[in-house]
Structure formats: C-alpha cells, structure tokens
C-alpha cells in the first residue's frame, strides 16, 4: 500500500479530559469518509464497553484516514489515539513517539488545564509540531480570545495560529485537516534501510492472538518476513500486516513512515514489550529505537473471591485479563480474614476500578476488594530492605529502622479564588508547598510535593469538590522519601482483621482510626451477637465501637399461607449476603473493606 512518504501525516490529539477529543476524532473519521456516518457508533475509538460507558479512553488505537487536500494531493493521515486519564498518562508518551505532530485541543469555555499543559510538554519534549485547536466554539460561552492568549502565555505556542473548531457541529474540521497536511512534517525514514519499527501498543484478540501496533521508522515489513524483537531476541514470522480503518485491513506491506498492525503468532501480551523495536532477522538493524520506560504499578489492593466465586475462577480470569492488559500486576496472596486471593498492582485508582469491574462483568465473579495502598520501602534494623505492598505484612515497629513512601509532584491548576482552598487541602494531605505560578489574571498553578498515598485515595474527588469542579491535576512520581508511618489495625471481637489494616502517618493515625471504626460501625449490620470494633496503633487500642446485637428478626405472619413466598424472600436475602465475608464469627459486608476511603480528613 505504498504511499509516498511525503504524503503521510502521523498525529495524535491531546487534550484535557472532556475537552472534546473523542468527539473530534469521530468527526475526522466521518469527514474523511473513513467510517460511514450511519454505521458510526458514538465515539468509535473508545471500543471497550467500559470505556464508552465512562466516556474515557483507556487503550490507544490507531486509525488510517485518506484525505484529498486542497492542494489536490491524496494524503494518508494516521490518527494515533491517546488515553485521557492521568492513570494512563504514560501511554500518551507512547503514542506521541509514533507521531510527528499533535493537535492540542482546548475547550474554548474552559481554557488551558493541568492536563493540557502536561500533554503539551510531552509533545514538546518529543519535538512534535503542535497545532493549537480551540474547540467547542459553537457554545455561547466560548471565549476564543482568552484561549488564544492562554496558548501564547501559558503553553508558549503561537495562539494566533490556533484553528477554531467545533467537534460537535463539524465547524472548522476541514481547517484542521488542512492544518495537519500543511503544518505537520511528513515522516522521515529510509525505506531501503534495515527494518526498524516501534511497537507503541498491543492488544490481545481471542482469535488472532496478540495484535501489535507499530510505526515503521525505517525499511519495510511484509507478511512472510522473519522478524525479531530487539529487546529479547524473540523471533517470529509475520503472518499479516495492515492498517486500521479502524477495522483491520490487511496490506501487502508497511513502509517507513506508515502506521499499522502486525500479527505473528504471539500468544500472550507479556511477550510483547511496548516501546520495543522490531527488526528484520535477515538484515537486522544495529541499534534499537529509543524506547520508553514501562509503567510500574503504584497502587495495590487485595482481591478475594466472595462466597460464591472460587479462587481458581479468579486465577483464570486474571490470567485471561492479563492477556489484554499487561499494565496491572498480580500475585497470589492470602489473608486470614479473606482466605486465598491475589494482590494486584495498578497504575492508579481508576485503573483499579476498571480491572475490578471487568473481572466482575466479563468473568461473572463476585469479589471482595481491600482498600488500595501504595508500596512502602522498609529498612529493617538488620539492614535488610523490603518493599511492602500489603499493610498487614508490615514488620513490627521495633524491627524497623526507616519507613519510606513514594512521593509525587503535583501541578494543580485552579482559578485564583480557589487557591486558598487548594492550599488547605494540600496541607491536610501532607503536601509540601513548592511554589505557585500565576498563569494569568484569573488562574494559577500550585505546585506541591506530597505522598502518593494521599493522592491515590480520594485527592482527585476532593480537589473537584474544593474547587467546584474547576481544579485540575497532573502529577509525576518523584521516588521514596522517609515518613513517620505507623500501622493501624482493626479488631473485630478482639481478633485482628488483616484485610482492614492500613498504614497511616502517625499524626493522623488516631483520627483515621476513630473515623474508620465509626464507619465500620455503620457498615457492619447488626448480627445475632454484639460486635466490638477496635482500632489499634502499634498494638495500643485507641477506640472501641459497638454494633449492637440484632433485636428481632421474625416474620409475624405467613403471607396468607404463601410459605413459598417467604422461602423465596429468604433466598433473596441470603443471595444478598454473598458479598459478605465471614470473618471469625462476624459477617462483614464488602463495602467495609473499602471503608477507609470514606473516612474524611477530619475523621468523620
């Protein structure tokens, strides 16, 4: 499908969440007749159900469009999608590495946000040509001039060259296409040189195995080629190459500058390293392309089968899920309270929710999930260093020399009137004030360093509440720093429940302990016998709450002799208990294991 290299444009759309990236992408596909309008499901690029429901893009994908420009020439435009949520920020860099340019989209009613900036910097780092686009100009509240100024003043682009558009009405979409052709440089790359193709993504397909998305940088690749992965020397024979339109369409070959897919009998995703270079086995390149560091899970939680799901089912489901999402990790774990299960690692809280939801929805499991935590680094007095991903595995405090926790640097962009609220919030979250940059008359960016643990739980939601939805957040991981951390234990009727243990900062331990005990008291239903809930720090009990014993539970009458109706009601009630875990003599509902998330900063 040889397209002259000068007629190819590879680009991404980057934007803050909700600024209209998916809508615009759909419109581009429609205008270029890549997809028939009638067949178009809303937001075609978000293909997973969960993605569509939540309106977020998780997996990036590439689509090839044909476009006849006003200069009369036929162009191939490859749109490489990027994910829209901070949890998956690393995937943005992956996608950008396969492009020469990017559309930087800003909602004309919102202006530049934290993610706009973060993504713009990623594109600048990779020397991409950035086309500023002011979107949603169909709205009455659109402020085009202010958006232009922000592009110039905040991002450092030429705001006067911004394209005005509305992904919704289609206004300006042609201008965007023209700008892509005019301003984004064609790829460079010698088609005669030895093959070098960058893997920027991969998905697993039940019928075809792993489908590798790649950008050919030099040389060409075709079915029948013997190739190898430069990172690990794994060798494969290429079965098929092609482009995504967005359906897979096989092609004779892919040449330097082109973007497409490759299928070559790879059985599982962990054999495919994103960022790896594919080369020709017979005529190998000497040097791999610059890759990118693989994302590491930062949030961990336990997942345990609830009563009706068994451990083996969970294991199978995790194995299967891992085939198409290798960004989460898992390893067998066991809990005294919850039995056999797994410890899973995720890129963020949203990622965790998505994985849990997929396990339940796609595999029909009922799971009990424990409160997420970060990983801690503990240096023992013996000098041994351990990574702790599970609070209950924390060694006794007298054996610990230093406990360290991961820190992040957060860029929080807010209208100035909310700055003091944000500073309050950051203080509560143990934030270290770095500086505040005033962006324009109305907005500023607060830069804070703070423990990742404070961010993963509920920071994002809190920020939205504190700023009436106007605050936006972007963060980078800095590394471990020492912290005065203690383990908080919960006891039910005197027995420690490992799945409820958590690690908290000493200053807040008492507040959190009281808050958690109070929440549990509300969440655990009254049972036949009284239940004592105690919170303890370092073995010392700081609070006790009581769940009173059940008063009366009896159906007075028998529904006019309809005994079967009563039995069915009881069966229904019993089914509702499936999410309960029997912990010693106490039945604990699934929400109780997440109670920590509901404890406010002031312990309420």
């Amino acid at each position: 499908m040889t397209t002259p290299i000068e007629n190819i444009r590879n680009f991404s759309i980057i934007a803050h969440i909700d600024h209209g990236k998916s809508t615009l992408a759909d419109r581009l596909l429609e205008v270029t007749k890549t997809i028939d309008k009638r067949l178009m499901k809303e937001q075609t690029l978000d293909s997973m159900d969960i993605e569509r429901e939540r309106g977020i893009t998780i997996k990036s994908v590439a689509v090839r469009m044909n476009y006849k420009s006003k200069d009369g020439k036929d162009y191939v435009l490859n749109l490489i999608d990027t994910p829209g949520h901070v949890d998956f920020a690393y995937e943005v860099s992956r996608s950008l590495a396969a492009c020469e340019g990017a559309l930087l989209l800003v909602d004309a009613t919102q202006g530049v946000e934290a993610q706009t900036l973060a993504n713009a910097y990623k594109a600048i780092e990779q020397h991409l040509e950035i086309i500023p686009v002011i979107n949603k100009i169909d709205l009455a509240s659109a402020d085009v001039e202010s958006a232009r100024r922000q592009f110039t003043d905040i991002v450092g682009l030429d705001g006067s060259r911004a394209v005005l558009a509305s992904g919704k009405s289609g206004l300006g979409v042609e201008d965007i296409l023209e700008a892509i052709v005019e301003r984004i440089p064609p790829p460079k790359g010698d088609r005669k040189a030895p093959l070098r193709a960058l893997i920027f993504d991969a998905v697993y397909n039940d019928y075809r195995g792993v489908i590798v998305y790649l950008r050919v940088v030099e040389g060409r690749i075709a079915a029948g080629f013997k190739v190898k992965m430069m990172s690990n020397d794994e060798k494969y024979e290429v079965i098929e190459v092609g482009s995504l339109t967005p359906q897979m369409r096989a092609a004779e070959d892919l040449e330097a500058g082109e973007v497409g897919y490759m299928i070559c009998n790879i059985r599982s995703l962990d054999k495919t390293k994103i960022g790896d270079t594919v080369t020709d086995l017979l005529k190998p390149a000497t040097e791999a392309l610059p890759g990118y560091s693989e994302p590491k899970p930062v949030v961990f939680c336990g997942m345990y089968p609830a009563a009706d799901t068994d451990y083996m089912q969970l294991r199978d489901a995790l194995d299967r899920l891992r085939l198409n999402d290798c960004s989460f990790s898992f390893q067998a774990d066991s809990s005294d309270a919850l039995g056999l299960g797994y410890r899973l690692g995720f890129l963020g809280l949203l990622h965790m929710e998505i994985v849990q939801e997929r396990l339940e929805r796609e595999f029909g499991l009922t799971l009990v999930t424990t409160v997420p935590n970060v990983s801690y680094r503990v240096t023992l007095t013996s000098g041994e260093v351990m990574e702790i991903e599970n609070a209950s595995k924390m060694p006794p405090s007298n054996e610990i020399d230093v406990t360290e926790e991961p820190y992040i640097e957060a860029d929080i962009m807010v209208p100035t009137q909310y700055l003091s609220a944000v500073i309050d919030l950051c203080k509560k979250k143990r934030g270290i004030h770095i500086r505040v940059d005033y962006i324009d008359a109305n907005r500023c960016m607060a830069i804070y360093q703070m423990p990742l643990a404070e961010i993963v739980l509920d920071f994002y939601d809190k920020l939205k509440t504190y700023t009436r939805g106007y605050g936006s957040l972007e963060y980078r991981i800095l590394g471990y720093r020492p912290g005065d951390l203690v383990k908080l234990d919960i006891m039910l009727n005197g027995d420690r429940v490992d799945a409820l243990s958590c690690i908290v900062h000493r200053d807040r331990a008492a507040i959190v302990g009281r808050g958690l005990a109070a929440k549990l008291q509300k969440l655990i239903p009254r049972q036949q016998f009284e239940i004592a809930i105690q919170a303890a720090i370092g073995g010392k009990i700081i609070v006790r709450e009581t769940v009173k014993s059940m008063g009366k539970n009896v159906t007075a009458k028998c529904y006019g002799g309809d005994i079967s109706r009563k039995r069915k009601l009881l069966e229904k009630q019993k089914a509702g208990k499936k999410r309960m875990k029997q912990v010693g003599s106490v039945e604990v509902p699934q929400e109780a294991f997440m109670a920590l998330l509901k404890v406010d900063d002031d312990g309420a």
Binding site: R526, M550, V554, K557, C558, Y559, G561, I563, K574
Partner: protein, 378 residues
C-alpha cells in the same frame, strides 16, 4: 375497612358487587377439583361482615355441598388429606378439618360485632372467632389507621366472650406509642380470650403504610414489646405455641397448625393460595379478573423435594413443638441430619434451636430471630 398496613387483596364494595363476588366464590368452590373432605374452615383476610347474611349463608351451603364436613366425623387428622379454605378477601385462606370438632373460624373487626350477628354466625356453624382488636389504646388505633376505637373493641370482646367458647384477640406491637403496649396486653388478659396473637407491625411495600416506614418503632423497642408479651401472657397461663401465637391448652388454632406443619390446604377467593399435591398456587388477585375466572391461577409452583423440606422445616421451627426426628423421617424418608446437618449444627451453636434427642425446636431467642433460622436453611 382496609387496614393501611395490610397487603391482602382488597376491593372497593359498591352496589351489587358483593353478590357477584359471592357467586364467583361459590362457583370456585363448586368447581374445585380436589379432595372431598375438609377438617377446618377459616374465613380470613378481612371482614366477613361485609357480606350480606344471605351471601354468607350461600357460601356455607356451597362448602357443605362440595365438602364433607361431618360434625363428629371419624377421620383422624393424619389421614384427612382434604382441606378447603376460603379467603373471602383472599390471601388468608380457610380450612376445613375433619375432626370430632371441625374448626370453623371467622376473622372479624370489632365494629362488625353485634349480639345478633354473633348468633347468626353461630347458627351457620362458626365455632371460633378471631377478633382484630389490634390495640386497647386509641392513639395506637389512630396510628394504625383503624376505624374502630377502644370502646368498640371492649364491646366486641364482651359480646364474643359471651357467645363463643373458642375465640381469640389479635394485637399489633411495634406501633406508636410503644408505651401503650403493656396496658393493651393487660386489658386483653382481663377479657380472657383463650387465644391471643401478637403480630409485629411490618411495613409492606405496596401498602399506604410503606410511606411511613421511617416512623417505625426502633428494633430495640419492638423487641422489648415482644418480650413483654411473652412474659405477661406466659404469666397469665398462655402457652406461646407459635412465634406470634399464644393459647390456653387445647385452644391452639387447628387451622394455622396446618400451615405450620406445612400440610395441604385449598384457598378460595381472589389471591388465595393453595397447597395441594406438592403445588403451591395462587388465584388471580385482581377482583375483576377473578370474578370472570374464579379458580384460575396466576402462579403455580411445583415444589422440588428440597424446597418442600426447607419449607417444612422453616414452618415447624415457628412452633414451640418444632419437629420430631421421627416425623421428618416418616415424611421424607431421610434424616434431618443428612439433609441439613451443617445448618442445624450452626443454629444450635448460635443458640437458636435446641435438640432434646427426640425433636428439634426453637429456643426463645430462636423465636425472636426466627428468620435467621430460615436464612440458615435456604
């Protein structure tokens, strides 16, 4: 006359409707394809006084025509396979039991009781009366949305006590104000009915009361009231023979014991439930469709062996007598232990049931938490 907390099938009465209704009910009885003998009758679920005396008489005639209800009949309870029941307003069916004294009960409200009516009922063969007093406190009666007042309740108790040897009073606890409960129970005891039922107020969906469920008396108060009833009625010589029922020896409700032993019965009337040949079935519950197609079922459920066992145990565990190991074995050909071993052991460990070797029966706590027993068994 409808109680706002009651989810029994009701209908507005107007014009000739009652006669139309009587005819439909009689037709259902006449066309009933089931056993021909009956050992108890229960007119339940509301207010038979709404029927004209003629209508009442018609229904009795239909029953006698269809069923053998021999006074002083010889068949014993265990062999009589036939029951028939009449739920005038449906969901509380009635039964006919062939014993030396077939129990024929009607459920009435205090306002419907007059000495003349009582005589009329006796003349028809009614030998047991269940009086829906609910409370001897006017504030509580208002709270419950009842039409009668305590005066009417007292008068009715006097009339019934004079004319019937076998009668009972229904009381409701869990209503507001809770402080009125002890006095209601005491006054009830003074009238000395041989049978007392105490029902905890429940807030059923699809009743006007459902909206008021936030006003419900707290769990602990309701428990205290229930316990007070157990103590006070026990002290007055009543046997607490079933979760909600107290009786002097010999005055247990034969009709209700059929339910509690999970035995068979037929129900007549809109929404009435039957249990015959292992099938639990419910009549059409809408009055208009019932009138044109009496006896037609809106739901029929053939119970599996397991379901039958579960229901049998749940019901028996409502009664003081519980269930005898031997009776279970005779009925199902298996041991309770092999069918429900785990649940029974857990329940015993929780102190909800006790095993004296011969029988399993609920403890006092097992009465209070009776649904917990059911939950362990399903």
């Amino acid at each position: 006359m409808a109680c706002p907390y009651c989810d029994f099938v009701k209908r507005p009465i107007s014009g000739d409707a009652p006669d139309e209704f009587t005819e439909a009910l009689c037709r259902e009885i006449a066309e009933f394809e089931g056993p021909g003998e009956a050992r108890s009758i229960f007119f339940g679920g509301g207010t038979p006084s709404l029927l004209s005396e003629r209508g009442f008489a018609r229904i009795f005639e239909a029953l006698h025509h269809r069923f053998e209800i021999a006074e002083g009949g010889s068949s014993s309870r265990s062999t009589a396979g036939a029951q028939s029941s009449i739920g005038r307003a449906g969901a509380r069916p009635s039964q006919i039991e062939i014993t030396s004294h077939p129990e024929i009960t009607i459920e009435v409200n205090p306002d419907d009781v007059t000495p003349e009516r009582a005589r009329f009922w006796r003349g028809l063969g009614v030998n047991r009366l269940s009086l829906g007093v609910q409370s001897f406190d006017d504030v509580v009666l208002k709270f419950l949305g009842r039409c009668h007042d305590t005066e009417a309740a007292r008068r009715a108790c006097g009339v019934i006590g004079d004319q019937f040897e076998n009668w009972g009073v229904d009381l409701i606890f869990g209503a507001k104000p809770p402080s009125a409960w002890a006095a209601s129970v005491a006054e009830c005891v003074r009238f000395a009915p041989p049978h007392v039922s105490t029902y905890g107020l429940t807030y059923e969906e699809r009743t006007p009361f459902w909206k008021q469920r936030h006003e419900a008396v707290g769990d602990d108060d309701a428990l205290a009231q229930y316990r007070h009833a157990m103590d006070a009625l026990g002290a007055a010589g009543y046997e607490h023979y079933e979760v909600s029922n107290f009786a002097r020896t010999g005055f247990e409700s034969a009709h209700n014991l059929i339910y509690w032993r999970n035995e068979e019965y037929a129900g007549f009337g809109p929404g009435a439930v039957s249990y015959l040949g292992g099938v639990r079935a419910r009549n059409l519950s809408r009055i208009d469709t019932y009138l044109t197609r009496p006896g037609e079922k809106e739901e029929s459920l053939a119970l599996s062996a397991r379901e039958t066992k579960v229901e049998t145990l749940i019901q028996h565990f409502r009664t003081r007598a519980g269930i005898e190991h031997a009776a279970y074995r005779a009925r199902f050909g298996s041991e309770i232990e092999e069918d429900f071993g785990d649940a029974i052991r857990t329940l015993a460990a929780r102190g909800l049931i006790a095993d004296d070797g011969g029988r399993l029966s609920p403890t006092r706590r097992g009465y209070e938490l009776n649904n917990e027993i059911g939950l362990a068994l399903v």
